[in-house]
Amino acid sequence: MTTVTTEPTRGVDVDDAPRSTGSPATRALGAVVLALVGLLVLLGLVTSPAERVQGEAVRLFYVHVPTSTVMFLAVGVAALGSIVVLWKGSVFWDLVAAASAEIAVVLTGLSLVTGMLWGRPTWGVYWVWDARLTSTALLFILLLGYQAVRALPADRTTRARRCAVAALITSLNVPIVHYSVDWWRSLHQPATISTLDPKIDDAMLVAFAVGMATYLLGYLWLLIHRFRVGWLEEQVADLGLGDALAERRAEGLADAGGAP
């Protein structure tokens, strides 16, 4: 006898749903990054000369150094976002921090791989207990821990707070780990000899600068897209919750009406 009135399901209009996370600005940015990648390949592999001491292995530096630098930037952005989360409870910064930390995992992994590839011809082995390699490996594991915390089932505020604390512990640890490992190694063996020639060839410098620009802009592009995906995920979670509430309410009303 009861007419069940539920609110019309909100926002699931498929035509309104975004088709991609791209916008004119990010497409332009993406195009620039792609062009820079092409340029970096050309400069790094073709036009720049081999180095006197390291030979061809120096070419790895054009990707390795930018990877490591942007990796620290990504961790820094995650830490900054986490401070704002703990301070103001901002959803925006929680998603920025999460996106940045995720990219940091990839960059840390890449930095380890390129570092090891460089180590093989230079030191003769893939892995040495060098301060930088060791502290990067620890950072990698710490970031994986952050991802594990991120994946825990929890409501939004809880997850944001937990992740913020984990991200801040991780970034607090970066200088401590680096310092302690550096010190630990320097007691056992002389510090790794600086293999870069002090007089850097102009072509090398250009390749290096292009590498930095490529990675910085690439990071930005990834960050924006990952953030947008995260934002949409939040919206979908909200929608799901709204729908579930409406359904339960309808069931409740039907039960109440159907009972004698």
Partner: protein, 222 residues
């Protein structure tokens, strides 16, 4: 804050005094780890004696995982975290109290372990001042970082697997510094070891300060 900390620490230590979980389970476990190291390494040569500082601190860290898990498990049951907050305790005080209780328990364990390595590995104990300072500072740092992560993982189904993944990389600097300081102290070169104590002090300070600031945010959630 400090009064609250004393209350919470007293509660946790009383709990331990009555349940004796640490004494009856964790302490035998850590001695067992020492024995396992002896099985894994050569007992004939001086390998064990040389490796004593590292083995000692790895054992301490493994035992610390258990102590931290125990410390957060007693609060996770029956949502005691909420009860503590409803009792009007300062979150910073709760953090300091729980960390202090873990630190005291670990220190007792470390004294026991030192006796263990002296007895089992034939390590000659020298440089006692440096050993004590190192142990106190390292334990403070481990207890602070552990308590933070302990409450984060408390009550989760994955806590047993999550805590080691989160905590061990964070305390890696403690392992490096404490091992190096112990090596120097046991090697009769205490003078050079104090710099490592400085590093341990910085670690302890950073994580205690961060815990005091951030513990409230973690408690609010659970």
């Amino acid at each position: 804050m400090l009064a609250d900390a004393a209350l919470v620490a007293g509660k946790d230590l009383r709990l331990e005094a009555r349940s004796r979980v640490l004494l009856n389970q964790v302490a035998p476990f850590s001695i067992l780890v020492l024995v396992l190291f002896a099985f894994a390494l050569d007992v004939e040569g001086d390998t064990l004696e040389v490796a004593t500082p590292g083995l000692y601190w790895v054992t301490v860290l493994l035992s610390a995982l258990l102590a931290v898990q125990r410390s957060s498990a007693v609060e996770a049951a029956d949502s005691n975290h909420d009860a503590l907050r409803l009792a009007g305790l300062d979150p910073a005080g709760i953090f300091l109290g729980k960390a202090a209780a873990v630190a005291v328990q670990l220190l007792v364990l470390e004294v026991l372990l030192l006796g263990g390595v002296a007895l089992l590995y034939g390590t000659e104990v020298t440089g006692v001042a440096l050993l004590v300072a190192t142990a106190v500072l390292a334990t403070t740092g481990v207890a602070a970082a552990g308590t933070l992560y302990g409450v984060l993982a408390a009550g989760l189904r994955v806590r047993e697997t999550l805590l080691p993944l989160l905590l061990l990389p964070v305390v890696a600097p403690v392992l490096i510094a404490a091992t190096s300081a112990f090596e120097l102290a046991l090697g009769g070169r205490s003078g050079e070891g104090w710099a490592w104590c400085g590093l341990l002090g910085v670690f302890a300070l950073v994580y205690t300060a961060f815990g005091v600031l951030a513990f409230g945010a973690l408690l609010e959630e659970s």
